[in-house]
């Protein structure tokens, strides 16, 4: 694209003065996107806060139906995947393409584990009828005295579901990064896509850091 300057690097778009300006612009745009992501989840966090303040006892009792061990396992899996993502960027900055590739594949595998554990949790809840809204039907001994536990599960499923969707999208993006790194399109000279997808992936981790105590560790 940089027809006016034959010495410019191939990845530099002609409408940027230099690679640093291009990199900084991409990063600022990514943070604008992160802002919209935070505000998307903000609506759901507000729903959580309002309903928990209305039904404090119901939230405490209904959360006992969630499996803390699975939640903690997912927390560990996601933090580790955040580390491997950060190390993939570190490796590409050092121009170590092979290590970067290994770290990206590890990140992908951890993301898959996260969704696998989530699937086990969801399928159990579907079986016993701990479902959102009018699909709720569970009346085991822990909840017979409770008023409206379906509200807890509506919020639980929508928040963890939207988060799970982000994990799935993140997996697609990481798969593309694996391909691009394998083809040799990314290097210490140009790794902008990896840095941006890394920021997205850490945001997914960051949201889970709040979801875990808010759903699994109440009271």
């Amino acid at each position: 694209m940089s027809n006016h300057n034959p010495d410019a690097p191939k990845h530099l778009k002609h409408y940027f003065a230099n690679v640093d300006q291009q990199y900084e612009t991409s990063k600022f745009a990514m943070w604008a996107f992160i802002l919209t992501e935070v505000l998307t989840f903000a609506g759901l966090f507000v729903a959580y806060i309002v309903f928990r303040s209305w039904y404090p006892d119901m939230f405490v009792d209904a959360h006992k139906l969630l499996d803390v061990n699975k939640g903690l396992m997912n927390t560990i899996v996601l933090i580790t995947s955040s580390l491997t993502m950060a190390l993939a960027i570190w490796a590409i900055q050092k121009n170590n393409r092979k290590l970067s590739l290994i770290m990206l594949i590890a990140t992908f595998v951890f993301a898959f584990c996260f969704l696998g554990i989530k699937f086990l949790e969801y399928s159990h809840k579907f079986e016993v009828g701990q479902l959102p809204g009018e699909y709720y039907s569970y009346m085991g001994p822990e909840v017979v005295h409770l008023n409206n536990p379906h509200i807890f599960f509506s919020i639980y499923f929508i928040m963890t579901g939207l988060h799970g969707l982000h994990v799935a999208i993140g997996m697609g993006l990481i798969a593309w990064l694996i391909y691009a790194t394998y083809k040799g399109n990314l290097s210490s000279e140009y790794y902008t896509p990896m840095e941006m997808i890394g920021i997205f992936w850490h945001l997914v981790d960051l949201i889970w850091i709040y979801l875990f105590p808010l759903f699994y560790l109440i009271g």
Binding site: L39, T75, M85, Y191, E195, G198, P213
Partner: protein
Amino acid sequence: MSEHHITPLRTYLIIAASLLFLSGVTVWVSYIDLGPLNIVVAMLVATIKASLVAFFFMHLLWDDKKNLTMFLMSLMFFGIFVTITLLDTEFRGDLDLNPEVKDPINKRAVFYDTLPLTDTHGHPVDEHSDNHHEDKDHH
């Protein structure tokens, strides 16, 4: 691109270890009853973890401060969102103009009367013969 800050490997490993340690702490502390402080402690630990992720993994510490500003703005607007919503939902009925809205939330939703309720094993439970409204002020 060569002058980008490269975080040392040691930093990443220390941060990841701290995050895993704090995850253990937050689970451990949730088994201790601190009363109303439970949620405060849980959110404090979560915020420390989130800050570690944002500043080190997301490189905000070394970035141009405009990126941090953008992120903090999103949190600021979240704060406004929460505050204004709670100003409504927490004080409904306080003026006694319409006493019915004051405590509308401790009744079981009507649709529980028609639900096919099931127990731990997915077997049907006959709950509908009970009068749920007896325990509407259960705490």
